[in-house]
Each structure stands twice: as structure tokens, then as C-alpha cells.
């Protein structure tokens, strides 16, 4: 076993002089805006002139379609976003780029569809967001219960339904929407459609007022008689649609993103442990002196927990890159990281109760953000059910 994230970063810096400045810019310019992004539930506009936006739009996108080499592999994504997460684990979730929408396009789309989809993110001087819409108000993980329908009408499909909890849904230029061709046929009837924001009938109903991760602009989207050409269906050849259901594309998204999200969470946890250790060193602990040493030891145990979590995330990324089945590893990584983050947030709140109750303090913000990690991209319960099923075999 060999784990050397520093060497991964060195490899990126050496091989990719073009996108390395983006990594440096994110590290430099995210910390000063993190608190304001949280307060305003928006990435402050002054951020965009400070980062190379064209590169930012191409993060987490495959290089063969113009993506930056910085995030060309799952291991690179994991290492890069762990570093960014140390500064702020919340804001990066709302950064531009195709995000979760990229994997289903890659898994399900025709070559022509892939080129067309990713071209939207190239050569732009403004931030461009993609979004992934599968969850519905009455059901999240239960694909068979999907109520958004796509009805064939001549050569078009007409989309009707509502999607909720869509990351960056409020500002997305394009959304990959999962819908059923026939709700009676369960997951086998599910297909994915590329829906541009300006499609008539597509509306952003609202952005949620979230407890944490506020800059990610979780939105509810509705589709009312939204007419789409058949070529919008991922995998449609122009003559006929794909024979396989689109749920495999959704699973591809989770396998792709869960190691990244886990790494972001791990980075956030490490950043908070370092912050807490600094507070202890500077005498800011709201603890009796005798308990300060105990607090240091407890933070040491959290470092060990985070170490396990880092390796779970990197192993999932490594397996993904190797082309193996990574779903269970991705679930293990996500479930463990999100559990550790909430336990850490709780512990820090006990060590620093005033900070935890002071709006704007990092500990207060982390306490809110950490809870979300056990919910988004598959709840902890769902991850655990998947893990239990996988280990039965």
C-alpha cells in the first residue's frame, strides 16, 4: 500500500502547468469569501475576477472533452478537493462546472451528445453550472417511485414533474433530468434528458434556505409541458432511445462524486482539527486548564479517525480509476467521512461552546455544514444499506 498525496500534487504541478494556477487561486481566494458566501447563500461576485473562470468551468470534466488535467483522475480529484476542503468544505460544492451532471453524460450519452454537452463549459468568461436532478419531493433513493414523466409526442418528449434538493439548481445553465417513460415499469423505464435552462416550461421554483452548505443553492425545479427533442435523451441515436435504463448513469455519478465529496469532508475535518489545536495553543479553550490536555488527546484521536477516512476515500478513488466496481467503496468512504464530521462538530462544540454559538465563527459554521454531509448525495442510512447488501455476497 502506498499513499502519498504530496506526490500526487507534485505530479499535477509538473504535468499540468495550465490548471495548477486554478488550484493556487482557489486556495488563496476561497478562505476570504467563505463566511460571506455562507451568509449570503451565494458565491460573492468579486470571486470571479480572482480565479481563472474558464478553467473553473472545466473542473471535474474529462480532459478528452476539454476538462482540466487537475481533476483528470479520481485520485487527483480526491487529493485536490481534500486540500480545498481544509479551507472550507462548503463553498466548493457550489463552484461552477458540470459537477454531478458529467458522469451520466459520460456513461449514457452518445459521442455527439458528450461533445455538445461539454462544449457548453468551454471558452466561457462567466461561470457556467451544470446540475443533476433525480430526487423528487416524495422520494429520493427509490427510483421506482419516480413521478417525473417524459411522454413521447411525435419526435419529441414532453417532460412534467418536480425535482428537489438540486445542487446549484438555481443557477444551472443546463440540467440532466431523470424521468420515467412509464411509471408502471419501475427503474427500467427511467431515462435521462439534457434540459437547458431556457427551455420553455422549466422553472426554478425556489432555492432552499439551508442550515449549512448555503452557497450551493439547493433548488426545487419544475418542468411543465417541457418539450424536448428526442436528441435530448442521453443515449438516443436519433433513430431510437437506449435500451438500458438511466439508473446506471445515476450510480456512475455517485461513484464518481462520493470519493470527491468524502475527500472534501475529510479536508474540512482536518482544517477544523488544525483550527481547534491552534485555538487550544492560543489559550482560547473554554475549558478548565486540566481538561485542555485531554482535549488535545481527543483531537489526536480525531486525526486518527480522519486518517481512516482519508484512506477510504482514496481507495474508492483508486478503484474508480482502475476501472473496478467502486460503488461499495464509495459508500464506505461517504458514510465514514460524514459520520466523523458530525462527531467532530459535536466535540468541537463541547470544547468551544461560545464559538459554536457565535454566528460567523468557523466552529459554528462547521456545526451546520457537517450535518448536511450525512444527507446529501445519499444519506448515511442509504449508504449503510448498500454496504450491508454488498457484504452479504
Amino acid at each position: 500500500m502506498r499513499i502519498d498525496p504530496e506526490a500526487v500534487l507534485e505530479e499535477i504541478r509538473r504535468d499540468d502547468p495550465e490548471s495548477w494556477p486554478l488550484f493556487e487561486a482557489m486556495q488563496r481566494h476561497i478562505p476570504p469569501i467563505a463566511a460571506r458566501a455562507d451568509a449570503d447563500a451565494e458565491i460573492p461576485p468579486e470571486f470571479w475576477p480572482l480565479v481563472p473562470v474558464d478553467l473553473q468551468n472545466r473542473v471535474n470534466m474529462p480532459p478528452q472533452y476539454g476538462g482540466v488535467v487537475l481533476t483528470a483522475t479520481a485520485v487527483r480529484r480526491a487529493v485536490v478537493f481534500e486540500r480545498i476542503g481544509r479551507l472550507c468544505p462548503a463553498l466548493p460544492i457550489g463552484l461552477p462546472g458540470p459537477g454531478l451532471s458529467a458522469p451520466p453524460v459520460l456513461a449514457l450519452g452518445t459521442e455527439e451528445q458528450k461533445v455538445a454537452y461539454f462544449n457548453r463549459f468551454l471558452g466561457q468568461t462567466r461561470p457556467v453550472w451544470g446540475a443533476f436532478a433525480i430526487t423528487e419531493p416524495q422520494g429520493g433513493s427509490d427510483a421506482a417511485a419516480m413521478r417525473t414523466v417524459a411522454t413521447r409526442d411525435g419526435t419529441d418528449y414532453v417532460l412534467n414533474g418536480t425535482k428537489c434538493f438540486i445542487t446549484s439548481g438555481g443557477r444551472a445553465d443546463v440540467v440532466v433530468v431523470f424521468a420515467s417513460l412509464d411509471p408502471n415499469k419501475g427503474r427500467f423505464a427511467i431515462r435521462a434528458f439534457v434540459v437547458p435552462r431556457d427551455t420553455p416550461g422549466f422553472a426554478v421554483d425556489r432555492c432552499e434556505d439551508m442550515m449549512g452548505l448555503r452557497a450551493s443553492q439547493l433548488a426545487t425545479l419544475s418542468f411543465t409541458d417541457c418539450r424536448l427533442p428526442a436528441s435530448s435523451m442521453l443515449g438516443h441515436t436519433g433513430k431510437r432511445g437506449p435500451h438500458v435504463d438511466a439508473f446506471t448513469g445515476a450510480q456512475a455519478s455517485w461513484d464518481y462524486m462520493r470519493p470527491v465529496l468524502s475527500s472534501l469532508i475529510n479536508g474540512g475535518c482536518l482544517g477544523m482539527v488544525e483550527y481547534a489545536e491552534q485555538c487550544l495553543a492560543e489559550g482560547e479553550a473554554e475549558l478548565p486548564r486540566a481538561k485542555v490536555e485531554q482535549a488535545r488527546e481527543e483531537l489526536g484521536v480525531f486525526r486518527a479517525r480522519i486518517s481512516s477516512s482519508q484512506m477510504l476515500a482514496l481507495r474508492a478513488a483508486w478503484k474508480f480509476d482502475a476501472g473496478g466496481r467502486a460503488s461499495t467503496d464509495a459508500s464506505l468512504a461517504k458514510a465514514f467521512a460524514s459520520t466523523v464530521s458530525m462527531e467532530l462538530a459535536h466535540k468541537l462544540a463541547a470544547m468551544f461552546p461560545v464559538k459554536a454559538a457565535t454566528a460567523g465563527d468557523r466552529i459554528e459554521k462547521f456545526y451546520r455544514d457537517a450535518k448536511a454531509f450525512d444527507i446529501l448525495e445519499g444519506t448515511g442510512d442509504m449508504q449503510r444499506l448498500m454496504i450491508a447488501r454488498a457484504y452479504e455476497h
Partner: protein, 333 residues
């Protein structure tokens, strides 16, 4: 030509910075050990130990120690054999750390000091009255053969989880000099090799034992019926099973990384950098949840749960003790 020269493959000269495959250096040994692991799964102590001794690790380890690969091999072998038969694996491998430290062949087992350096403990998986083990005290500055003058000796029988195991302790007053104890010199690298090997052994046994607990819990939950379906189909049980797997994977990766960190010479960390508190926490959760999965059948003799629950407890105590010995404050002998 030695086994090492014949079988050990060199590490890739331009390795990937992230690679979760087992170190190539240990693969030939694991290949040889796999049939032994299968053979010892369902047989008793002495016969199982004789199988493990076929590996002739004692002659291989010092050679690997010079390459700093010994703890890695010991860890993976202990995991493999400990999963199959924990008591036999411990008994068969418990003398290896003394060999890694190149103590005289007459020393079967080294007792390690606590943080004060005035009390030493030896954990024996099996005490054979016909052939009592030859013991020695060891510390960062030297080793001393036993018995020695000026020591108080005590013996606790009935080691938790190991019916024929014992804990032996020796303590000394600060006024007793190393000369009076008959201390002989031990190179710092030998002391380091001893502690690392002991930590690697215990870590591997712990990973093997907890993995066995997880396997047993999944197997039980798949066959045990309740309300017309196997209990793994009940969500409360499924969530516990998932946590079992989650914690075991976390423990396994954490300990593997701590042990393998010591392979490249001069690299930071090593097994002595592990957080014993974290390891104990995870191991306890796994043991507790595995027993809980089998409920009453996990609490009584019969299925392996009760025995492994107790054995895991003993292993964690030994690991904590060895970690304390690895702290740089340990003074004498």
C-alpha cells in the same frame, strides 16, 4: 540462496503515489501462508502451531528486517492466520518479534516495559508446563535474561479469551542498577525492530480477528430467521452489519497504513505512531456489534463470537501496552 533472495520481488522503481495493493515484497509469503490458514481454521492449538512453524519465519524475518520489510510481512501474515485461528496464530507468531530484534536464539519471548521503565510485562498465549518459555526483559537501552536478581515476579493465570494463556510481570525498585539486572546492550535499531514487530504482530492479529467477527456476523445474520425472513433483511440489523463492515475497513486501512509507513527507510510514522485509543475504540465497536448481531448465541460458548470478543479485548490491552513501551520516555534497562 535464501528464501528472501529467491522470492522477494523488488518494489517498482516508479510506483504510483496511491496504490492500495499489498506490498509486492510480502506476496510470496502470503501465497505460502494461504494454504496454512485454510488448514488451521478448524484444528486445535499444537497441530495448528506446527503448521505455522512450517513458514520458518524466524529465519526470514531478520533478513527482511534489514530491508525494513519485516513488520509489513508480519502484519499481513498475522492478519491472514489470525482470521483463520487467532489463538494458534498468536502462539505461532509470538516469538517472532524477538527474532526481528536479533535477540539470542535462546530467548523465546521478550517482556516489554511500561512507560515508567520499572515494570515489564510478558503475554503468553499458551503456557506449556513441560517446556516453559525462555524469557528476557527488553528496553530501549538493553536486554536482560531472566530470571534475574532484584526483581519482583508475579503471574496472572487465565488470560481473557485464551484458556491456557498467562500474563507475567516483573517489577524493580529504582535503586536496582542495570548491572545488577545483568543488562546486556541492545542497539537502538534492535529495540525499534522489537517494538515495531510487536506492534505489527498485534495489529495484524487484531485486523484478522475483527475481520473474522464481521464474517461470522454476516454469516449468522444470513441464516438466522425472524418474522419469516433472515435477520439481515431487517433494517435495524442491516444498519448494524454495515457499521461492522465500515469500522472493520477503517481499522484495517488505518493499521495497514501505520505498519507500512515504516517500510521506506526514514519515512515518518511507523507503527509506533498509531493512536491506541482509536484502535481500541474501533475494535471494541466491532466486537460489541458482532456479539449483538448473534444476541444470546453470541454471548454463550458455541459460536466463535464470545471467544473472539474476549480475545479482541486482550489484544487491545497488549497493543496499548506495547504502544506505551514504544513511547520515547521508556527509560531502562
Amino acid at each position: 540462496m535464501s528464501f528472501v533472495e529467491t522470492h522477494v520481488t523488488s518494489l517498482d522503481s516508479s510506483p504510483s503515489p496511491v496504490d492500495f495493493r499489498c506490498a509486492p515484497v510480502v506476496e510470496p509469503f502470503l501465497g505460502a501462508a494461504r494454504p496454512i490458514a485454510s488448514a488451521i481454521r478448524d484444528i486445535g492449538g499444537a497441530e495448528a502451531v506446527s503448521h505455522i512453524q512450517q513458514l520458518e519465519l524466524a529465519s526470514v524475518l531478520p533478513e527482511l528486517e534489514r530491508r525494513a520489510d519485516a513488520p509489513v510481512l508480519l502484519f499481513h501474515l498475522a492478519e491472514l492466520l489470525g482470521h483463520a485461528n487467532l489463538a494458534a496464530a498468536w502462539q505461532g507468531l509470538s516469538g517472532i518479534p524477538a527474532r526481528a530484534a536479533e535477540l539470542p536464539a535462546s530467548v523465546d519471548l521478550a517482556a516489554l516495559p511500561d512507560a515508567t521503565g520499572t515494570r515489564w510485562t510478558a503475554w503468553l498465549p499458551v503456557v506449556d508446563a513441560a517446556r516453559p518459555p525462555s524469557l528476557a526483559l527488553a528496553g530501549p537501552r538493553g536486554w536482560a535474561p531472566l530470571p534475574a536478581q532484584g526483581l519482583t515476579h508475579s503471574r496472572v493465570s487465565g488470560l481473557l479469551g485464551f484458556a491456557r494463556g498467562e500474563v507475567l510481570t516483573w517489577s524493580t525498585e529504582p535503586s536496582v542498577t542495570p548491572e545488577e539486572l545483568g543488562v546486556q546492550s541492545l542497539a537502538p535499531e534492535s529495540w525499534s525492530a522489537l517494538v515495531r514487530a510487536q506492534l505489527a504482530l498485534l495489529s495484524g492479529l487484531l485486523v484478522g480477528a475483527t475481520r473474522r467477527l464481521v464474517d461470522e456476523a454476516y454469516a449468522y445474520a444470513k441464516t438466522r430467521q425472524s418474522a419469516g425472513k433472515s435477520i439481515n433483511q431487517h433494517q435495524a440489523v442491516a444498519l448494524r452489519l454495515a457499521d461492522l463492515a465500515l469500522h472493520q475497513e477503517a481499522l484495517s486501512l488505518y493499521l495497514t497504513a501505520r505498519v507500512e509507513e515504516c517500510r521506506p527507510p526514514g519515512m515518518r510514522g511507523g507503527p509506533e505512531s498509531l493512536s491506541a485509543g482509536y484502535v481500541v475504540e474501533l475494535a471494541f465497536r466491532i466486537a460489541r456489534d458482532a456479539v449483538q448481531t448473534a444476541a444470546g448465541h453470541g454471548y454463550v460458548e458455541g459460536l466463535p463470537f464470545r471467544r473472539l470478543f474476549e480475545q479482541v479485548r486482550t489484544l487491545t490491552v497488549m497493543l496499548q501496552g506495547t504502544k506505551a513501551a514504544a513511547e520515547p520516555v521508556s527509560p531502562v534497562p
